[in-house]
Symmetry: C2
Subunit: 365 residues, 2 copies
Amino acid sequence: MQQKEALKKIEELGKEVVGDIKEGKNPKFVTAARTRSNIVFDKKEGYLKLGTAKEERTFINVAQSRKFMQTIAIAAKCHKFLEEDLHTTIRGLFYQLKFSLGEDVDESIFSEQAESNPLIEDLEVSLGLKREELNLNANRKGVLAGNLKVEDTFGDEKQIIDASRMGRSGWAIPSDVDNDIRFIDIKARYVLVCEKDALWQRLNEDKFWKKENCILITPQGQAARGTRRLIRKLADEGLPVYVFTDSDAWGWYIYWTIKTGSINLAYIGNDVATPEAKFLGVTMSDLDKYDFLKKLTIKASDVDLKRAQEMLQYEWIKKHKEWVHELERMIKSKVKLEQDALQGPKLTFVDDYVREKIKNQDWLP
Amino acid sequence: MQQKEALKKIEELGKEVVGDIKEGKNPKFVTAARTRSNIVFDKKEGYLKLGTAKEERTFINVAQSRKFMQTIAIAAKCHKFLEEDLHTTIRGLFYQLKFSLGEDVDESIFSEQAESNPLIEDLEVSLGLKREELNLNANRKGVLAGNLKVEDTFGDEKQIIDASRMGRSGWAIPSDVDNDIRFIDIKARYVLVCEKDALWQRLNEDKFWKKENCILITPQGQAARGTRRLIRKLADEGLPVYVFTDSDAWGWYIYWTIKTGSINLAYIGNDVATPEAKFLGVTMSDLDKYDFLKKLTIKASDVDLKRAQEMLQYEWIKKHKEWVHELERMIKSKVKLEQDALQGPKLTFVDDYVREKIKNQDWLP
């Protein structure tokens, strides 16, 4: 059904272009501007999204003609992938275009390493579809354990994956958690997102998610699109989301990306941001609460300190006095604190820490 | 049982040290030298391993005293982890030591990012145990699908994971594939190791492993310890192992690391190297076999070219004329070829490619 809708949207775009040509008009399509100046923080909703500025891409325009053509070629390829019911990546798409169009393909646009893939984003925005709905897999990363069953329609069979029966491994979160996939039997009180896989493995070994009846996720560092989308979907099920990271620039970035979305993905902010998320720790204030942590701090790097300064300028952060306090404390003391430090006195202390934090509602906004 | 053996070995080391002290001798332990000059390529076995040079670490020695003490402290901590039946990482171990010993802990030794962790390696080598047997998890990466069931003894329950029922996700390969884990019901003709997760997902979507009756693994780039060990274990079950990577410096490095092991892990070469592995592709010679690939090459980087030159010097590579031909061809043509390029004409061509290569025994040694 989702597939049919995507096909229809691409076909409509095609018809418009053909219609323009038949009428002797300059073919065009309209997309929301993804320039920095059109990325706004929606105070009411609490996430980064695109503003109202639009951009028109036309065919008969020296600066836009080649890109226009490539975008239409991409749309045609995605239409084919949807009809074939097969997925690939933007790298696979690049080679399909290179094969059909020859040398006239700009490789840099399709580099998975590049932060922006402007043509595909053009298409996503103008069609109102995510790349996952165009059968393009994004990089995947992240693992989950907990009382959750997933129905994965995998070719001609429906497979049920029980995330409480995945042993030491957990369920590897896929690139696309919307299409042909369904969450069933969610029995949990909350979602715990744990930055580091090492700590996730520690908590998983203790069956923390079973004892606490929660869903335990690690994005394995910065969260991939699929993991962000999954967290959003679990929040939509009414589950509170708590994020647990290092107290350093990277950990904070992971948290704020989950919570408010990111500049790069502002065009799908509504789908991937979880403004309800709370920051559980570790915090600089933990140094006052857990005395042993004082000797387990490590030196903050220049990047940490610079980034803390920058964060103090963001309107969505500086409005929270608790965050201003955290950031200023690191800048002043020049030390940071890792999740792993909680294992200092005993390996299972991390369980007590999370439990206590949640019980006392001891989190940052 | 494995746990008991590890405990016993640590206790024996402790007794020896205590015995030395009681007798008024200088406490010592002996380990194999892990210096570059003691890393040898075993021509008969086909992998990198340590030579016969030994090193003695003594306590009463200005240069070694601190490290000796730290090594004993690590052994004591690992003994505790084994008794508690709990796992952590070397980062968690670092914080345990920092908590117990105070500031006298050299952080750089315990950095997970560092390529060598000399003290832990000392211990692994001198005890004849891998860190996984000391309850230290290494970084994990890699995913598997296929007709294979895994029994994972997870705390007080045995969980059976069916790698043919994991949908789009696959089974996430754990850090330790030896202890409390058992492979049952392996029904496969061969193992296909596919460098890129993107291609793994492509093949998995086509249920290639089901149609071909193989085990489909992606190390997701360079293979982690757990994935290398897993490949070794599957080869021990009598399954041929075929490796499928990009035709570039990074892809070749991934292959040779799986096949001959690596300098860093030469001390456990026997456990992680799979000399039987064959290189399926993509190869520079594919350009002659598949005409369409000619327009899908991309420019080789300076790193690729430099690395190809280096590889021509390695005794275990230059003895194979097929590899000399491959490397020289890249150096001369200055182009490389990605796995993804096989998707150029149609997304499912990669299936045909692998199938044909295996059928024709068209691989490199």
